[in-house]
Amino acid sequence: MRLWLICGVALAGLCLASLGLGAASLFDGDGGWLLVVSRIPRTAAALLAGAGLALAGVVVQQVVQNRLVEPALTGTPEAAMLGLLAVTLIAPGLAVAGKMLIAAVCALIGMAGFLALARRVPPQDPMLLPIVGLIYGGILGAMTVYVAWTADLMQFLGIWQMGEFSAVTQGRYEWLWVIAALALGLYRIADRITILGLGRTQARALGLNYGQTRMLGLVIVATLTALVLVTVGNFPFVGLVAPNLVSRWRGDNLRANLPLIAFGGAVLVLSADIIGRLVVHPFEIPAATVIAVFGAAVFLWLLHAAPRRA
């Protein structure tokens, strides 16, 4: 109970800071309009994106039984970007829902490719899998850059690659609310996702339909990744940092910890956005850049602190 009170107060404080911060002041004239059109959407977008990324991270970690992996380390966003590029080239007029769907399907295919690779990676060294994912993502990323370069679409790629919230306004972020629905769905199957983390044999021995549950989890991850990527861009490290910090502190019983993981991701991304708005005020640094600096430090700490049973 006290934990939730602390979390609530922290969240409220961050939200107030985010709502009050920006180039224009809330108290000259059109403050209410500014809130509704820009500040509230921006704050909500950061919270939803952060929660979605963190949840996607923990599901992937349970599926591959490796906590040093997250969607951004499995080629998933790169595959989604490749799909988005293809849409932009072939059917530029497609509605956002269509783009989102194509991105999600490509994300799922990209993740399936990673899982096929993961099966051949010996599990003894937990460091190996993220490296394989990094290379795999690098190859997909290079393909994306090549296509974008030849088609003169590099500026699109730039928008997707660097996640930030300065362009978020009313009417341009509402898709992110789907994350809230997915989070609730994920909470319903929290036990199943935890059991996935016990490994295929033990999960099946407990009567879990392993293949089906894993597929369901991966579809949710692909959808979360695509939603965030299409609306606000790519944010590496969130899916790694939030679940790992919660896991170190409270363990892996997702029935109890899923809300905390979502909260951690939300707070992380919103804080990064606020810092990004403060550092070079009245200009901005992308939230993804702030997270990359902070996330890289935490990642190094995780590698250093738990090489044996990461």
Partner: protein, 251 residues
């Protein structure tokens, strides 16, 4: 009773199980012995309905574990794999509680809590219930996994080398508890063991495997003979009667 008829499993040209016909008696401990690579673990997974076979049938108390739905199967037979990976940071009571999952599918009731408490007590884990698994010793961890399998409350319990990495005291305590489960609760236990003397001491019946076949099956005293052991392990053994049981010593 678990009965198998002409079980066959091959992957490509590699024969893993070859014409396995078994009768495993209920209410006792059956030891599965044999050299490395004989197919013991695979057989155990097939008995639990987890590894599909390429031929033959398995019947657990008359039911086919391969055609049973996942939940029904997990209420009939519990399997603990060899050295289960613990990547998950779970507390002991959380892990043991997952043994109840086939019974409640995510909505535990008071009955489930009672089973978990009983499993924790049966394996001497009550004091460790709140400890994270990764802070436990190998023996304590192994006991936690066996307790999870026990909490699954199935008539059949299949354990793949649960004595691995246990010191003599923990190995003995674990076997004594399993023995108690068979004697007083009528549970049927099948256990893969490398230590032939552990099988000799605790198993009521033995199944000896070699080169993907069943070499011998029957009451422990009848299977653990120098001739069968030589055949099974290609190593000469002496058998010594000891306190009404058989002691096995490599020559």
């Amino acid at each position: 009773m678990i009965e198998t008829a002409h079980l066959d499993l091959h992957i490509g040209d590699t024969q893993i199980l070859n014409d396995i016909s078994l009768r495993i008696e209920p209410g006792v401990i059956t030891g599965l012995i044999g050299p490395n690579g004989a197919g013991k673990s695979t057989l155990l997974h097939c008995l639990a309905g987890l590894t599909p076979v390429t031929g033959g049938t398995v019947r657990i108390d008359g039911q086919d574990p391969f055609s049973a739905d996942d939940t029904a199967r997990a209420r009939m037979v519990a399997l603990l794999q060899q050295s289960p990976a613990i990547v998950s940071r779970l507390r002991v009571h959380e892990l043991v509680a997952f043994g109840r999952w086939p019974h409640h599918q995510g909505r535990p009731g008071p009955d489930d809590a009672r089973h978990v408490d009983e499993a924790l007590e049966a394996f001497d884990l009550t004091a460790l219930a709140d400890r994270p698994l990764e802070t436990l010793s190998g023996g304590q961890r192994q006991r936690a996994f066996v307790a999870m399998t026990y909490a699954q409350d199935t008539p059949w319990i299949l354990l793949d080398e649960p004595l691995n990495a246990l010191d003599p005291r923990h190995a003995r305590n674990l076997m004594a508890r399993l023995d108690g489960l068979a004697r007083t609760r009528g549970r049927s236990i099948v256990i893969v063991v490398h230590d032939i003397n552990a099988a000799a001491r605790w198993a009521d019946r033995i199944v000896a495997m070699k080169d993907s076949r069943v070499l011998a099956q029957g009451p422990t005293q009848q299977v653990l003979t120098p001739a069968t052991l030589l055949d099974c392990f290609d190593t000469p053994f002496d058998t010594i009667p000891h306190k009404g049981r058989t002691l096995v010593v490599a020559q």
